[in-house]
């Protein structure tokens, strides 16, 4: 099972009628069990790319081959919870078949057990993000898409949430795509890192990290980060 992406272009017309190219050539494949990281400058079209991969946007050139019948779990940049439903209802609406034990375990890992019956308006951003994560994991996805799940959280919280994501990703064999602009998150969570250029986005460099996530030492992570910074990819 793998995700084949062969996008040759994506553009849209602005309100003024001008054509904007958002994506250029983006080709890669992702295998089951792998975490692919899309890394690039702000506004380079990462979210547009994710929308195409999630099947929310069909208006592009090229093709994206997803295996038939895959279940997609998605964590958007904003939590996108239903404000009029409780935390538990939000998760259950996306995953009606989830059994109580698994849901309880998921809430336990994400430290949400105390918030089951709260409405999203009563949660902090960090908590709401975790509910969005719980929702995506509850459906037992084959493809998991995470759009900057750690953005605008403080360091301690982001670190904890990153570990929680790592735990959950390891618990199931699926294709994961993560968007981030934090190199540290990319190196800690990813198996293959795709470095994107500024608009229109194309892939500048692919970095494959061979060591399994759990066995990466701080030293290795530091070394990879140092090497990647030397490539100076952000400024090409």
């Amino acid at each position: 099972m793998q995700l084949e992406v062969g996008i040759t272009g994506k553009s849209f017309a602005s309100a003024a009628g001008k054509r904007h190219d958002v994506l250029a050539n983006i080709t890669f494949t992702l295998n089951a069990g792998e975490v692919g990281v899309l890394f690039g400058p702000s506004g380079c079209g990462k979210s547009t790319l994710l929308k195409i991969l999630a099947g929310l946007d069909h208006n592009y050139q090229g093709r994206v081959a997803r295996p038939a019948g895959v279940r997609l779990g998605m964590v958007f940049q904003e939590p996108r919870l239903l404000p009029w439903r409780t935390v538990e209802q939000n998760v259950r609406l996306a995953a009606p078949d989830v059994d109580d034990g698994r849901l309880a375990a998921l809430f336990e890992v994400l430290e949400l057990s105390a918030h089951r019956h709260h409405f999203p308006g009563e949660l902090s951003l960090g908590l709401a993000r975790r509910v969005a994560l719980a929702r995506a994991f509850a459906i037992q996805p084959d493809v998991l898409i995470l759009d900057e799940p750690l953005a605008s959280l403080d360091n301690a919280l982001a670190g904890r949430l990153r570990d929680q994501i790592a735990t959950l990703v390891a618990s199931r064999r699926m294709m994961t795509l993560l968007v981030t602009h934090d190199l540290d998150d990319a190196v800690r969570l990813g198996d293959r890192l795709f470095f994107l250029s500024a608009r229109p986005a194309r892939i500048l460099h692919v970095e494959t990290i061979a060591a399994p996530r759990a066995e990466r030492s701080e030293k290795e992570i530091g070394a990879i980060k140092a090497r990647l910074s030397q490539l100076d990819l952000a400024n090409i």
């Binding site: 929310l56 998605m74 239903l82 404000p83 439903r85 409405f119 308006g121």
Partner: protein
């Protein structure tokens, strides 16, 4: 408690005013109460109130259901909006009296004509409100529902309907007050019963206690329905919003 006080104040003002103006034009509260009791004893009061209420209920339900459906469609589909907009503007600005008179001419002095006329008067405001609601639907939540492949029924019930709820409540609230007003005119012009008919009779006989007896009973019914039905419904709809501490 505060409500009771404001009610007492209303009665007191009325009583004083009737003393100043004179019984012939503004009868005192006990006189009106006596007329009310007489009508209640004969059963006419309940019969007429019942007839009016039934018309309100039917016309209101009809207008809300049709208006919500049309409004939602016009908010979501731009072709429907362009086709429907001129009709909507026409209906919005058509005087209630014109609709009622035409309905009676075309469909005869029948119950169907009365209810249709009332419903047509209320319909355009429901359409306008629901169209705004449909336009304000959050595309981000739509995407979420698509990404998680919600079936259409689930999307409608849990994603779309809660977003439309405040608009439906607003349409119901303004629509109900509009229907209360128009139903009496429709009854006055072409029905043999109902509060509007009785008020017409009282007007012709210059029977002011009877006129007030019906007007006030009607107002009381409206108040009861507002307090017991409309307001609890609105509270329930907004229970997920954060309450000010």
């Amino acid at each position: 408690m505060l409500r009771l006080l404001s009610f007492a104040l209303f009665i007191a003002t009325w009583w004083i005013a009737s003393l100043v103006i004179g019984d012939a034009k503004l009868p005192a509260p006990p006189v009106v109460l006596a007329a009310m009791i007489a009508e209640a004893k004969s059963g006419a009061l309940f019969l007429n109130l019942g007839a009016t209420l039934a018309r309100v209920a039917l016309a209101f339900t009809l207008a809300m259901a049709l208006g919500s459906a049309i409004g939602y469609l016009m908010g979501r589909v731009s072709l429907a909006n362009r086709l429907g907009d001129p009709w909507l503007i026409l209906l919005l600005n058509l005087p209630a009296l014109v609709v009622i008179v035409l309905a009676y001419i075309w469909a005869g002095l029948t119950e169907v004509a009365a209810i249709a006329a009332i419903a047509i008067n209320k319909l355009p405001t429901a359409v306008v409100t629901l169209r705004e609601g449909a336009r304000a639907l959050d595309p981000a939540l739509d995407e979420m529902a698509t990404a998680f492949s919600f079936p259409p029924g689930r999307t409608f019930r849990h994603v779309i309907l809660p977003q439309l709820a405040p608009y439906i409540a607003a349409a119901a609230r303004s629509g109900l007050s509009l229907v209360w007003k128009i139903v009496l005119v429709a009854e006055l012009l072409g029905r043999p019963n109902g509060v509007g008919f009785e008020i017409g009779v009282a007007f012709q006989l210059f029977d002011i206690p009877l006129l007030l007896a019906y007007s006030l009973s009607f107002a009381a019914v409206v108040l009861v329905i507002e307090t017991l039905l409309v307001q609890p419904f609105e509270t329930r709809l907004s229970r997920w919003r954060l309450r000010a501490a």
